[in-house]
Amino acid sequence: MTGEKVVDFKNVVVVYDKFPAIAGATFYVNAGEIILLQGPNGAGKTTLLRACAGLLSIARGSANVLGCDLQTDRSAVRSRVGLLGHSNGLFQDLTVLENMLFWSRLVGADKTDVNQAMDAMGLSGRLSATTVAKLSAGQRRRCALASLIVRRAQLWLLDEPHAGLDAQGRDELDATLRAARDSGATVIFASHEIERAQALATRSLLVSTGTVKST
């Protein structure tokens, strides 16, 4: 699949709260790339990621993600992307294992997938029986990433994935994203940690006042 356009936006406008948060974005992402979205706060990075996930309607332009036209069928793309925003999307009163099993049941994954994901994110053993509410911020982030692995998302959309992680957690995250890329996934992530993010990314895009430029 490497080389195919996984994301293809042409003059895309996304209106959020009556405000054009994305104002004519044109860019593409090829399969197997790790793309860094750079830009100041409020530039539209989060909106762009949510639009790619099919969560926001496209007001104008042509938007194609994983072969699905977001103008006509946003829901079709959702089962194939994994979005990790500022929140982790976890249930606080469930243990790590229970969270993973819940997502595995929803997407038809089996126990082996769950074990592999938890091993990959260092969540096996004692941590697996700990409720999410008792985890550190970094551990919760790893748990959220494990749920993306369980779902075998083809396109990973990550908003500030390094936030809240310690040095070891950041290294593990980078390794996980490279492993995801090696296994055929494409990654788009927004980050303010430019040095680390640029070392991880294969290409960068600059998001500024709702437009997107290659850097």
């Binding site: 969560l55 976890l90 929803l106």
Partner: protein
């Protein structure tokens, strides 16, 4: 690789998730049940007349149920919105009507448990009595009414989940909608108790209304929940 999952699997996953979280957090057991029990006791103090209490017991049970419904619905959606898990469910591309059914069944089961306690407290505090035939009517009434409340509570809980001021918005929107349940369930329960000389047979027509309400909001909720959550 595209994987598929059945609708029933999503329903059961959501149902057991909600029940497991309740079993662990014990919000219904430790907060809602005492709250509902207190309502029953406060009514007993306020009315302070056995004859009046026996006559209005049905209405008091269902008022306490509906007040408690607001708390349980808000709790049910708070666990999904606390860490944006509801957003994750949307992105996962799963059938949101299955999520609706799973949450509605979990809510209904919690309401049934609550009503068992409320009816037991009515026997204890208000000295109401029920015949064998009345008991059949009462059980059917509780089943139909709580199912309807489960469906409508889940639908409106989803509608207000992302709204500002949802704590006050939910009762404001939900109270007028559940008024038919309050009226029908009260009349059916009064018939079951034989309050004011009402015949048990008079209660079945009200149970019919409760069944229609549950069916309308079950079907309507299954169709509307996904688009409502999505927007």
């Amino acid at each position: 690789m595209k994987r598929t999952t059945s609708r029933s699997r999503v329903v059961s996953a959501v149902l057991f998730k909600d029940l497991r979280i309740e079993a662990r957090s014990r919000v219904v057991t430790n907060q809602v049940l005492p709250f509902a029990g207190l309502i029953m006791i406060m009514f007993a103090f306020a009315l302070d007349n056995d004859d009046v209490l026996q006559r209005v017991a049905g209405g008091l049970i269902w008022l306490a149920t509906i007040f408690s419904l607001f708390v349980i619905v808000q709790r049910s959606f708070a666990i999904d919105t606390a860490d944006s898990a509801l957003d994750s469910l949307r992105v996962a591309g799963i059938d949101l009507s299955a999520v609706f059914l799973g949450k509605a069944i979990a809510l209904t089961l919690q309401l049934i448990a609550l009503d068992v306690v409320l009816i037991a407290s009515a026997f204890l505090l208000y000295q109401v009595q029920v015949s064998a035939v009345g008991l059949v009517l009462l059980v059917t009434c509780v089943t139909c009414a709580t199912t309807g409340l489960g469906f409508v509570g889940t639908l409106y809980g989803g509608l207000t989940a992302g709204a500002n001021g949802r704590e006050t918005l939910l009762p404001l929107l939900l109270l007028p909608v559940v008024a038919p349940v309050l009226i029908a369930a009260t009349r059916a329960t009064e018939a079951a108790f034989g309050s004011g000389g009402t015949a048990t047979s008079e209660g079945w027509a009200w149970v019919g209304l409760l069944t229609i309400f549950a069916a309308v909001f079950g079907i309507g909720g299954s169709l509307a929940f996904g688009p409502l959550i999505d927007e």
